[in-house]
């Protein structure tokens, strides 16, 4: 321990020549990763709740997973969402070329596909609700709606954020502030795809298998 504090003071550098300014984009991205971790914990809690409540007892004589899941619809939703994310990812390839028009085109495609995903999912759940399978029906349906709609709300915010970024890219070009937001938004889109894969596997596919 004393070794740690026994440094020769003669000729030691006491002051940094300049302020050590950490790389702004890297710092902002780190913070966003940390936010994603916290959001992942919320999603994990919702998944835990879903897996606990995905039981015949918690369906309270109402519909169970096998009755409300349509894996084929979910497959189309998956294709739409992952294509939206791919479109956003490709628009950041255009960012590397500083191609403003290419970035905006990618945003447009991503938003259209994302909107398509939302419409399809909205249709699916409106259909469920019309058939009486509303979240107030049972603990199981509460967990199902909450988990899937939590993801959908994120997609709404991803669309809103992409629209805001489209305005910023068009108005300000690729300033460091705009670029770090574009990178964080990429993380956000990818994170939604990541969660959706889990929803697709553990809600739609296992639901259709009549596991419980």
């Amino acid at each position: 321990m004393s070794k740690m504090n026994d440094m020769d003071p003669a000729g030691a550098v006491l002051w940094a020549p300049h302020d050590a300014e950490p790389d702004m984009i890297a710092t902002r991205t780190l913070g966003f990763w940390l936010y994603l971790l916290s959001d992942a914990m919320i999603v994990a809690s919702l998944f835990a709740s879903y897996l606990v409540l995905n039981h015949r007892m918690n369906a309270a004589a109402g519909p169970t997973a096998g009755a409300v899941m349509h894996p084929l619809t979910a497959l189309w939703e998956t294709i739409l969402l992952l294509s939206a994310i791919l479109a956003y990812g490709l628009s950041l390839v255009a960012l590397k070329r500083k191609d403003r028009r290419g970035v905006l085109a990618g945003f447009g495609v991503a938003c259209m596909l994302g909107l398509g995903f939302l419409v399809m999912e909205g249709h699916e759940f409106a259909d469920l609700a019309l058939r009486g399978a509303v979240p107030e029906r049972s603990g199981y349906l509460s967990a199902l709606y909450t988990l899937v709609l939590y993801h959908a709300v994120h997609i709404v915010f991803a669309l809103l954020w992409t629209a805001v970024m489209a305005v910023q890219v068009a108005r300000q070009g690729f300033t460091p502030n705009v670029v770090y937001r574009l990178l964080n938004l990429k993380l956000f889109w990818f994170f939604q795809g990541f969660i959706w894969i889990y929803v697709f596997c553990f809600v739609d596919l296992t639901g259709a298998l009549h596991v419980h």
């Binding site: 321990m1 504090n5 940094a16 302020d19 809690s45 603990g139 509460s142 910023q168 300033t175």
Partner: protein, 704 residues
């Protein structure tokens, strides 16, 4: 979608009506009168001294980590007082309502508090003390000290920092307004399920609890993100991980715990609010709800939260004890490792809060052993502190007294914790006041550490020490109160007294209840001295002024290299770190006074009122949701999103402070510290002491 609940509702005011104002309750009416008088006094004082612009410019819109930290601490101390008064009321009720012949006053059958009111008080006491008193004080201390200890100019995200604070303040505002508009939850700070469900708690009390803790926990999660990123990204050149002060290690560990556990709480409370607002069945007693799901989710957050508050306290002890032992901290590496280990193991112990729920011997055994494992890293810490004291030149300054008493409390609290980790014992004392005594014992470790930290770092922020003589008096009364009150409570726990009783059926418990009342009176005397200490010290601040950067003469870590009080830019030139205890090393080698040779321009962010606006809007959102004024909630939500988007279009270029101005401020500071400049007129408020000077000098600097 929205549920039906009993009682009238209007589109404009929601459930709010005149009869929701508890004007028939004399206790609340007098509290209200007191609050109004105190508020009028504060507002009058600010107006009289024409400080509104000063307050707005220097504090409310500030993004300076020190000022935000001070505001956090102030908020926490005010709420600490509120929670303490709740404690006084509970003790008094319990000592009055013993046996069937005890008299009743103010509409109560026994004592002076009807059961429903008593339930609100213990729920408010727990919620406030943990989430709105201790947590803000600790976040505030981390805010002030972590950037200074790592040689940074500010946190990684100064704007987010202000936002976290104002969210916490909004949540606190909701708790406070529940006193006078409506009522508060009566279901305990843990939100006992299914009591919190709409069917059993149709009023707005549980809604107040839900939205207060929900907003507060978002604020704390954001603060955790900020502290982690600050420690990872902002360390001064040369400060490798193993040269980082130990308080930063605990701040890092605690923030990782906070970041990963608070979202679970957010989820648990969000599901509960869906039950109450949208009629879902997550935790209801019928239609497929699962009560244990809530209890598990709550304690998956709840237990890490306990370590969230205790880890920074350990960090504080690790800073105070070496300073007043005049020795380096013993076992730095094991201390850092133990901090991380405690944070890690905090995740695998939550079930010990409900061993009696019947999870089976296998599950109970796992969580029992995991809980006992906590004792290993904590034991490492206790021994490290003991070996730091061993053959040190121990000085009993005020911060050291608080720290040493915290060590004693940690021993008793830790050992009773070991007892509770054994399911066999736990079955016997479950839900008894023995458990209450244990966790008050542990939270008192945190309280003692906080009070020690406030005394320890006060001169760093404000430039003068707190009065030692009055402070010691406060310390001894506080310690005596702790010993008497919780000693009696441990004994009552062994005698089988359940917690949360508003009426005590056995007169044989009365002597110990009187002992508890004596304890709380000692706490009252102590709080008088704490306020007096603050008042006297501020009034006679010139007399308590410290000279030089090291207020205690034997401090070790980097924050003591900066001036007392710290100027708004922290360090005139960022220090280059050579060894672990950089300041002690510089002092011992005669480098303590070595000033940098030249000053460079400093870049700092501008102040912004947007976090304050978002805080106010969040308060409106919470209030609207509590009273189901859906238009208000929706309007606030849209306004919050609009404010965030507006901020994204308003890129803050920041301000550049020219090196020449820094040089001039530093030269002036040297004069102040040598006593050449009169110091009586120095404004209280830390960094502000020099800021007013600097703002006066600013036009000149710009003209030149």
């Amino acid at each position: 979608m929205l549920v039906h609940y009993p009682g009238p509702w209007t589109p404009l005011l929601g459930r709010l009506a005149l009869r929701q104002i508890p004007y028939q309750n004399p206790i609340l009416v007098w509290t209200f009168v007191l609050v109004v008088l105190a508020g009028a006094l504060v507002v009058g004082a600010i107006t009289y001294t024409r400080s509104w612009t000063y307050l707005w410019r220097e504090w409310l819109t500030s993004v300076d980590h020190k000022k935000i930290g001070v505001m956090y601490c102030l908020l926490g101390l005010v709420m600490f007082f509120r929670g303490f008064i709740d404690g006084v009321m509970m003790r008094t009720q319990q000592v009055m309502a013993v046996g069937p012949h005890s008299p009743g006053y103010l509409g109560a059958l026994h004592g002076y508090l009807p059961p429903y009111h008593f339930g609100q008080i213990y729920s408010a006491h727990g919620t406030i003390m943990i989430l709105f008193a201790i947590t803000p004080i600790l976040v505030g201390l981390m805010n002030i000290i972590v950037p200074l200890q790592i040689g940074a100019r500010d946190m990684a995200y100064p704007y987010l920092n202000a936002l976290s604070f104002w969210l916490t303040a909004a949540a606190t505002g909701l708790v406070m307004i529940s006193l006078f508009v409506g009522d508060f939850s009566h279901a305990g700070w843990v939100g006992l399920i299914p009591l919190t469900e709409l069917a059993y708690s149709p009023g707005v009390g549980v809604d107040y609890w839900i939205w207060a803790v929900q907003i507060g926990s978002v604020g704390t999660t954001l603060a955790s993100i900020n502290i982690i990123a600050t420690i990872i990204k902002m360390r001064a050149p040369g400060m490798s991980w193993t040269k980082m002060p130990i308080f930063c290690w605990t701040a890092l560990s605690t923030s990782v715990v906070g970041l990963s556990s608070f979202p679970v709480f957010t989820a648990a409370v969000a599901l509960l609010s869906l039950d109450r607002y949208a009629g879902t069945h997550f935790f209801t007693a019928g239609l497929g709800g699962n009560l244990m799901l809530y209890t598990d989710l709550f304690w998956i957050w709840g237990h890490p939260e306990v370590y969230y508050v205790v880890l920074p306290a350990f960090g504080i002890l690790s800073e105070i004890i070496p300073t007043f032992s005049e020795k380096p901290l013993f076992g730095y590496m094991t201390m850092a490792a133990a901090s991380i280990a405690i944070g890690g193991v905090s995740w695998s112990v939550w079930l010990h809060h409900f061993f009696t729920m019947g999870a089976g011997p296998g599950v109970n055994a796992f969580f029992s052993i995991a809980s006992m494992l906590v004792g290993i890293p904590t034991g490492v810490k206790v021994f490290n502190w003991a070996f730091t004291l061993y053959r040190g030149r121990v000085r009993f300054d005020l911060p050291m007294l608080w720290a040493l008493a915290a060590l004693v409390l940690l021993l008793t609290g830790g050992l009773t914790g070991m007892m509770l980790a054994m399911p066999a014992i736990n079955y016997t004392v479950h839900n008894s006041v023995f458990v209450v005594a244990h966790f008050h014992n542990m939270l008192n470790v945190v309280g003692f550490a906080c009070l020690g930290a406030i005394n320890f770092w006060f001169p760093k922020v404000f430039g003068f020490k707190l009065d030692e003589r009055i402070g010691k008096r406060a310390f001894w009364y506080f310690s005596a109160g702790t010993a008497v009150l919780f000693g009696c409570m441990y004994a009552l726990g062994f005698m089988g007294m359940p917690r949360r009783l508003d009426y005590i059926p056995f007169p044989s418990w009365r002597p110990l209840l009187i002992g508890e009342e004596i304890g709380i009176v000692l706490f009252l005397i102590s709080s008088y001295y704490l306020v007096k200490q603050l008042y006297v010290s501020i009034r006679n601040r010139a007399q308590y002024r410290v000279s030089g950067s090291d207020a205690w003469g034997t401090a070790r870590s980097l924050e003591w290299l900066a001036h007392c009080p710290v100027p708004f830019y922290n360090f005139a030139v960022q220090p280059h770190i050579n060894v672990r205890d950089e300041w002690a090393w510089r002092r011992q080698n005669g480098l303590g006074q070595t000033a940098p040779e030249h000053y460079e321009d400093i870049h700092l962010p501008n102040n912004t009122p947007i976090p304050l606006f978002i805080g106010v809007l969040t308060f409106a959102l919470g209030f609207g949701l509590v009273w189901r004024m859906y238009w208000l909630a929706l309007a606030s939500l849209i306004a919050i999103i609009a404010a965030i988007i507006a901020r994204a279009f308003d890129d803050d270029p920041g301000q550049t402070i020219p090196g020449e101005r820094i040089r001039r401020i530093e030269a002036g500071l040297a004069g102040v510290l040598e006593g050449r400049v009169a110091t009586g007129d120095v404004v209280v408020g830390g960094a502000v002491a020099f800021e007013t000077r600097a703002t006066k000098a600013a036009p000149r600097a710009r003209d030149a």
